[in-house]
């Protein structure tokens, strides 16, 4: 069998690289949730209006908030299937999945896209402006939807391409340019909506600083069964679109020559260049794709129709942009994994809302838990390294004859060891 090596044999599936990635993500999630529970206890103990049963309720909601169905007549928390919560979870997961994909694809090609926030804002601007404008002109709603979506995505792609161009031609670190383009986008969007009064929502009394929601002009994403599955929630077909895009990204990265090129450039730009791959083009393209994905998250979010955009963004970048980083990290940059980590982050969000409505806690507890998990998702790399080391170690001892591959590795490492220890010695002297 070509796929199995007779000497070493293949790793069992539960010891494979993918499985290790899943374990490490689950471990960091569990630690994050446990820390969240500790915070719930500490806050509960320090506040006089929360009893010990209140603390228990708080912990329950942190873990199972999405299954909460409110309180029964006796005042006890009841858990079960909650279509509204579930649907809203999926709905809120859409932008997280898309920005997570954006960061993950860039990571896979060796780039750190910290500019998802700016790309998300550009997508928001493009989609809302084109959607509203075409909605008013009375063009067919389907075409208006498509144009709004595509213009948003295109603007995001252009915005992502800018750091890519700087990286490719001037070798300027994309992190720096991404941070700058984020704030340029924040100010640009504010200026755009400030200069175009027509997009502002003054019709609905009392609303200041919001853009007219797209449902007012009827340019909205079809529900595609979501209303049947999760009646009463905001969920719509955007979720299916996000899932499809994630699958498409996975296929693109792993099955196509294009993905092969992109990953080669990311893993070793010099070798890619040596092989005749246009490294500059690929760096720009992967940043453009990352930008398009982040912007698509914004487009899908606002094309749901109900969501409203607060146009004065010049002092604040959208959290979705940065939450894409933990989503990607938790998924170990795997496009399919991003779907699940995006849903998970959104679930925490729902838990926070449940905490706020059903207990004396406020929703910021959920934000703290998210923050802890964000930190731990960085650790998930460390946990992954530790786990795969253990597994490799076991593996090495189980098989008697890995000497062919192990011997030279040792030789290569030995001088490095010497250098390391020498430096240490020098430092002590």
């Amino acid at each position: 069998m070509p796929r199995k090596d007779p000497v070493t044999g293949k790793l069992k599936w539960y010891k494979s690289e993918g499985a290790v990635a899943v374990y490490s993500a689950l471990i960091s999630i569990l630690i994050g949730m446990a820390v969240g529970a500790v915070i719930v206890i500490i806050v509960g103990l320090s506040k006089s209006n929360i009893s010990s049963s209140g603390i228990v309720e708080g912990i329950k909601l942190v873990f199972l908030g999405v299954f909460s169905t409110g309180r029964d007549s006796a005042g006890q928390l009841v858990f079960g299937f909650n279509g509204v919560n579930m649907g809203n979870m999926l709905f809120r997961a859409v932008p997280l999945i898309m920005t997570g994909l954006s960061v993950a694809i860039a990571f896979k090609t060796g780039l750190f896209n910290i500019g998802a926030a700016g790309q998300y804002l550009m997508g928001t601007m493009g989609t809302l402006s084109v959607g509203l404008w075409l909605g008013w002109t009375g063009c067919p709603k389907a075409i208006a939807w498509l144009c709004a979506f595509l213009v948003g995505v295109l603007l995001g792609a252009l915005w992502g391409a800018i750091p890519g161009i700087f990286k490719a031609f001037l070798n300027i670190n994309e992190v720096i340019t991404c941070i700058m383009t984020n704030w340029i986008a924040a100010n640009l969007v504010t200026w755009w909506f400030d200069a175009h009064e027509m997009f502002k929502n003054s019709a609905e009394g009392g609303k200041v600083g919001y853009i007219i929601p797209l449902k007012n002009v009827g340019v909205v994403t079809p529900k595609l069964l979501m209303d049947k599955l999760f009646a009463g929630s905001q969920a719509n077909g955007g979720f299916w679109i996000a899932v499809l895009i994630a699958i498409a990204m996975w296929i693109m990265m792993t099955k196509t020559t294009f993905g092969y090129e992109l990953r080669a450039c990311g893993a070793n730009r010099h070798a890619a260049k040596y092989a005749g791959i246009n490294d500059k083009k690929n760096i720009i393209l992967s940043m453009a794709i990352a930008g398009a994905l982040a912007a698509a998250g914004a487009s899908l979010y606002f094309l749901s129709g109900n969501t409203e955009f607060y146009w004065s963004t010049y002092q604040k970048l959208p959290a979705e942009g940065f939450n894409g980083i933990p989503v990607a990290l938790l998924a170990a940059n795997h496009p399919i994994g991003v779907i699940f980590s995006g849903i998970f982050m959104s679930m925490l969000n729902i838990s926070g809302i449940q905490l706020k409505y059903l207990t004396a806690y406020n929703e910021y507890i959920a934000d703290i838990i998210i923050a802890v998990i964000v930190y731990l998702s960085a650790f998930s790399m460390l946990i992954k390294m530790m786990l795969s080391k253990r597994i490799k170690h076991d593996h090495g001892n189980v098989n008697a004859e890995p000497a062919v591959s192990a011997a030279p590795a040792d030789d290569a490492e030995a001088p490095a060891e010497i250098v390391k220890k020498e430096t240490k010695k020098g430092g002590q002297k």
Binding site: V7, S405, A406, K429
Partner: protein, 512 residues
């Protein structure tokens, strides 16, 4: 008093999944030059690291003058008088020679001030006594590699080391410098110092050593007296099978010109002058043309200019009758150029990719391997398995091995398999056997000769004099970015080549 100054008895050192040293015994007599011979991965470095206190052995003992000693760290080794010249020098570039020598062993006065004058006198005396010519006030970055090595040797002498370890000391030297070093080593031995000489170059062992200990795959093969052995026997001991040392090749039958280079000039990234200056030559079908020279004389930039990795500022390059002076890397490859790069990790491989992915690094877009942009994984697998078999590329998991985990020799074999299989009229091979052992070198040399015999043109860049003399049909010597001589390997000597390589001799313009 024991017969041996250092004894390493039955040393065993394990790493996870591998025994690097398995029951190895090494006995060093006082005043002898003892060579330690073995292929890459044979356990030479590990054994020396054990002696130097960097690793603790799982079993075995080390004796100094017959007494068992425990060497826990390099400081213990220094205290026992053991010194080492590393393959890659451990010098501080911006310090002077004197500062480098006394670093870590400074003598200071009452208030902690350096007593540089005393140190200086001691260094000068040592330098005089052993003929180690150095300029004590020059900065290390300004002196030649040969002098840097003399600084390393002076460092050991300054510390009054009696046991001197030389780790592959000749890799960076010219033939003349190698001869000098050999004389210096013999002088030390006469003084009563004991020398451990790690190498895989058989000529040097025959020239300088008294005894040889051979290791193979972590095991002790044997210790022989140099006078009673020969190169063939040593290499058979080292590899474990009869090795053909002299490359057998038929005379070259040069055909039409494949590559024509006229006035090529490539700027340097380090200094203001051109790294390659107005270089012209031809490579013809069915011949191996070798560019010889000391490292850093423009070989790298010359190849970058030819392959398109770097932009040439002037000159014309014609490949198979096509002007490729301005062509992209891909166009040059398509015009008939395959390239075994100098740095296999930087350019040759995507280390995080699997072996099969690396084997199609230039071919993934060919219709055989893709359909409307979708990779045909079965075809790639089949092709990779074929190449792995044909070129004997060994790895843990075959085509799906991540190349990072493969040994250097097998990584190189993979690159050579990929480039030779492209079957282009011109093969550029830059240091194709660097860091490889005798068995792998034999294999790769045969592949290159086979390419030539197929009627392809081969442009070889090598720093190894033996390789230059043995493999090439024609030699051009490059010095400071210019071709300073063309010689026939059958008519020249290593000494003459060395004169060209060091810039001491130069042919007239007609040589260009």
């Amino acid at each position: 008093m024991s017969e041996y100054v250092i004894e390493m008895n039955h040393i065993r050192k394990e790493f996870p999944g591998i025994v690097a040293n398995d029951d190895i015994t090494l006995q060093l007599r006082k005043g002898e030059i003892h060579a330690l011979l073995g292929e890459n991965g044979a356990g030479k470095s590990t054994l020396m690291s054990v002696l130097f206190g960097l690793y603790q052995p799982e079993a075995g003992e080390i004796k100094k003058d017959g007494k068992v000693v425990k060497i826990n760290n390099p400081n213990d080794a220094t205290a026992l008088g053991i010194g080492m010249v590393h393959q890659h020098f451990k010098l501080i570039d911006v310090f002077t020679v004197l500062d480098n020598i006394i670093l870590g062993a400074e003598t200071t006065g009452a208030l902690g001030f350096l007593k540089k004058k005393e140190a200086r006198e001691k260094v000068l005396a040592l330098s005089e006594k052993y003929g180690l010519k150095v300029d004590v006030d020059a900065k290390v970055e300004d002196i030649t590699v040969g002098m840097q090595q003399r600084v390393e040797i002076l460092k050991m002498l300054y510390r009054d080391n009696e046991i001197l370890i030389f780790d592959e000391p000749t890799a960076v030297l010219t033939p003349q410098e190698i001869d000098e070093l050999m004389e210096i080593m013999k002088g030390f031995a006469k003084e009563g110092k004991s020398i451990l000489f790690i190498t895989h170059k058989l000529n040097e062992i025959m020239a300088v050593s008294d005894r040889v200990t051979v290791l193979r795959k972590g095991k002790y093969v044997g210790t022989v007296n140099t006078k009673e052995t020969n190169k063939q026997e040593l290499s058979n001991m080292m590899v474990g099978r009869p090795v053909q040392l002299e490359l057998k090749k038929k005379p070259a039958k040069p055909g039409e010109t494949i590559l024509k280079v006229e006035g090529l000039t490539v700027p340097s990234k380090i200094h203001k002058n051109n790294a390659v200056n107005n270089v012209s030559f031809d490579v013809r079908a069915g011949e191996i043309l070798c560019i010889a020279g000391i490292d850093g004389n423009g070989q790298t930039e010359l190849i970058f200019g030819l392959t398109g990795l770097e932009k040439a500022t002037a000159g014309k390059v014609t490949l198979c009758g096509k002007d490729i002076s301005k062509a992209s890397i891909k166009q040059r490859a398509l015009a008939g150029m395959s390239h075994i790069p100098e740095d296999r990790h930087k350019h040759g491989l995507v280390l995080s990719y699997t072996l099969e992915q690396n084997l199609v690094l230039q071919k993934y877009k060919e219709p055989r391997f893709q359909n409307h942009g979708f990779i045909k994984f079965d075809e790639v697998r089949e092709y990779a398995e074929q190449l792995i078999e044909d070129f004997d590329v060994r790895s843990g998991q075959g085509p799906i091995t991540v190349t990072r985990s493969m040994s250097g020799g097998n990584q190189q074999k993979a690159i050579i398999a990929r480039e030779i299989d492209r079957d282009e009229p011109l093969l550029i091979a830059v240091q194709p056997t660097r860091g490889l052992d005798v068995g792998a070198i034999e294999h790769i040399h045969n592949q290159i000769v086979a390419e030539r015999d197929k009627g392809h043109a081969v442009l070889l860049v090598s720093l190894e004099l033996e390789e230059v003399m043995g493999l090439s049909d024609r030699i051009l010597v490059i010095y400071e970015g210019e071709i300073v001589g063309e010689v026939d390997p059958k008519k020249t000597t290593p000494e003459e080549l060395g004169l060209y390589m060091s810039g001491a001799k130069r042919q007239g313009k007609e040589g260009n």
